[in-house]
């Protein structure tokens, strides 16, 4: 007879529910993304989710692990979704496939699967693609160009066929972050960049991008409200990004973008609420989460401003993932009945 130790009751939560909540909270941002960047988002999502589930199943099978509980937990699907949202919408299928397979197999399963991966799998896949295929990974379509149909995206993804009379270079363009960076390197001031690329800029940051970020922010509030995540990481991340950019913007507003531009550009909000908060790879103590978030915010700013890539979120997350064990060790909370350290 197997004796189970107390307690003999449990809360009806499960990993599955946690992952589901995260996935549902991504819906507003995803819909707005489809609005600005077309149905390619949906195609990428479909490819990524399929690849993620198949890769996960394959490795589980090889590792002789039960398939059902691990496929049903939703973690592989979530990794696929997060990666798909980070890949340009007009992309060949193999780009999404390769990134997702790499994320699940190398980034997650080879470390032992759910709960054992030190690095955020979606970011591992993303960074691999960014380094290996920089051109494909930085070309987004114009957010105001709504002319591409589902069929167009489908044909490009699977057959590399573009609509008649249109070229790849004409359809795609650099993102706002990319444009700003490139032109700053050419010694243009922010004012000049802005007036030279009026079509790219919205009220806060890049056109389209600002709305996507706002919707991910709303999704993040939902996660906070239903207590799937705590405030520590998003607040620390966005706070440090805000204050650092505010400082440099205050020093020289010609060459350093505004805090709002940083907060609502690129993957800032998606990372703050959905990627950096991945519990497996984030710091686990409350104090640690704050240091972890501050680190990501600071590194994101450093890479965006002085690094070689337009956006630094993915690198920042991976670098801070490495620091997690140390952060956790030195930020243990005061135990009941112990003196304040």
């Amino acid at each position: 007879m197997i004796l189970r130790s107390s307690p003999y009751d449990n809360q009806p939560t499960s990993i599955n529910r946690v992952m589901q909540a995260v996935i549902y909270s991504l819906i507003p941002g995803t819909l707005v993304m489809i609005h600005f960047f077309g149905w390619g988002v949906a195609i990428n999502l479909a490819i990524a989710i399929t690849t993620a589930v198949i890769s996960e199943a394959l490795i589980l099978k090889i590792r002789k692990r039960p398939l059902k509980p691990f496929l049903m937990d939703g973690s592989a699907i979530l990794t696929g979704i997060l990666l798909a949202l980070a890949i340009p919408t007009l992309s060949p299928w193999w780009l999404v496939f390769l990134g997702t397979a790499f994320a699940i197999i190398i980034g997650k399963q080879l470390y032992g699967g759910l709960g054992y991966n030190p690095f955020n799998p979606a970011m591992v896949g993303y960074v691999m693609l960014l380094i290996a295929f920089p051109q494909e990974m930085t070309a987004w379509i114009n957010p105001l160009d709504h002319s591409l149909t589902v069929k167009d995206f489908f044909n490009y993804s699977f057959f590399s066929e573009l609509p008649a009379n249109r070229t790849y270079d004409e359809i795609t363009m650099a993102t706002v972050l990319d444009t700003v960076k490139t032109n700053l390197n050419l010694n243009s001031t922010l004012h000049e960049i802005r007036s030279g690329n009026e079509a790219l800029f919205g009220g806060l940051a890049g056109k389209g991008w600002e709305w996507i970020n706002i919707m991910f922010l709303i999704g993040g509030f939902i996660l906070l409200f239903i207590r799937v995540i705590t405030w520590h990481i998003p607040v620390a991340f966005l706070g440090s990004l805000f204050f650092i950019s505010a400082f440099f913007n205050g020093v020289d507003s010609d060459f350093y973008a505004t805090p709002l531009f940083h907060l609502f550009s690129g993957g800032a909000m998606l990372a703050a609420f959905f990627i950096a908060t991945d519990p497996v790879t984030a710091a686990t103590t409350n104090k640690g989460k704050i240091y972890y978030g501050i680190g990501i915010g600071a590194l994101t700013y450093i890479i965006r401003t002085w690094g070689g890539y337009p956006d630094g979120v993915a690198f920042a997350v991976l670098i801070m993932n490495m620091a997690v064990p140390t952060i956790d060790y030195y930020t243990q909370p005061r135990v009941f009945g112990q003196e304040n350290k």
Binding site: L3, Q11, S14, S75, V280, F336, Q338
Partner: protein
Amino acid sequence: MKPRLWHFHGGLKLEGHKAMSMHEAVVQADIPRRLVLPLQQHIGEPAEPIVEIGDSVLKNQVIAQASDYVSVPVHAPTSGTVISIEDHPVPHPSGMSAACIIIETDGKDIAIETNTTPVDYKNLEASALRNLIREAGIVGLGGAGFPSFIKLNPGPDARVETLILNGAECEPYITCDAMLMQDSPRKIIDGLLIMRHALNIDKCIIAIEDNKKAAHTMLVNALREDETSFINVIQIPTLYPAGGEKQIIKVVTGKEVPSHGLPIDVGVVCHNVGTAAAVADAILNRQPLIERYITVTGDAVKQPRNLRVRFGTSVESLLKQCEGYDVQQCIMGGPMMGFELTSQSIPVIKTTNCLLTSRKKYHAPTSMPCIRCGECAKACPAQLLPQQLYWYARAKDFDKIQDYNLFDCIECGCCAYVCPSHIPLVQYYRFAKTEIWAMERDKQKSDIARERHEFRLYRMERKKVEDEERKRRKKALLKAAAGDKTTEDDKKKAAIEAALARVKAKREQQNSQAKNVNEEELTEAQKKAIAEVEERRIKAREKQQIKIEENKEESGSS
């Protein structure tokens, strides 16, 4: 006036399920044919039986006596015959067996004749009072079962300021304390007064979770006018585990019992309300502890209720009385900290507060890997990091796990309850604790063995050195003799002469110092006689000396 209350970290709001067992009035449970009384119903050393098989015993008679300081006696709960003293399954999470006295009851329930006049405790020394409480076999009835008289003995250096009676009863389903507070509020207060006297303090608090309004009202109404100035009956928020000793002290006083410390370190002594009632019985009614309120509840009994049960009554007998049916699982204690019983023949003991039955065995959902979500850390009332403890328990990294304060874990089960991966976390911590204790025992053993071994090596070394020294001396002696180029006889002669010389020297020494007193006062004849005796003695000694010397020589050269 509403007293100020404090919070402890974490905790859970749990469904109480308390009403179901509170509809029926408490009645005496049937006394079964056989009572099984474990010798250990408390923390500490088991009691020693002082009856033999075949002895007739009467109700309240001591059948086993305290064997050590941390021990209390066991009394016969009813009259009957001792039919066996043997190992029997006892209440324990492992389902183990331990020594029990088994009494066949005679149904007459005749009590032993004793002095029944109430003790005038107000004119009694604290130590005498403690002794009476000990002799009544009283242990903490809240669950742990620590001998109560020890907790009433804070020691000469301790400064106790507050006595807290714990009526929180925070675990779901359990209602025995609530019923007791409703039925016998005055008895609890009387017990409190006795404890207060033993501790020689003023301020007392009775703390009750605010889901037990009736109990609170009854206790408040039972207070006498003059007692309200020093006894405060307060309600605390219902939040599991508010009834944990450290938690209730924090809530009521704002003080934190130090990690690895005792309540006494913050000037608090904490007892369960049931214990207070037992103390009142022992001092005012001269009634030792032989029964208690026990909740029998859950969905596998038709009549969930509280019963007054004699210790040693089998679980089976209680379930029968409450019309148990299809009992697939029976937990002793509550759902959060209780343990599943392996057999219904297990008796109830002093620390049994509840039998929780179920028609469905609890099957935890399959465990998934830890995703470090931190829900457990949010819930942990000890402010630990259960996710890290789990990690190190799995890795059997017992040094690291102690860095993370494993031994501050109170095993309340909050972490496992909220875990979305359904990991039996408490089980891991119990495992780690057991392993560490075993390692410490092994280490102690091996330390002793090592010390012994080292001493043996030292002894052998010393012997070697001594032997060599002896040999060396002998050699030197031989060499010296050989240097004279004399024969064996000469050698012997030389040795004899040397011995003689030594004796002479000694004698002279003796003569010079140790003479008898007042030689001047002796007559000439006396002096002469003494001299003669002396001479004879010396001669005899000389002879002896020579003989010894010769023997030595012989054995040495052979």
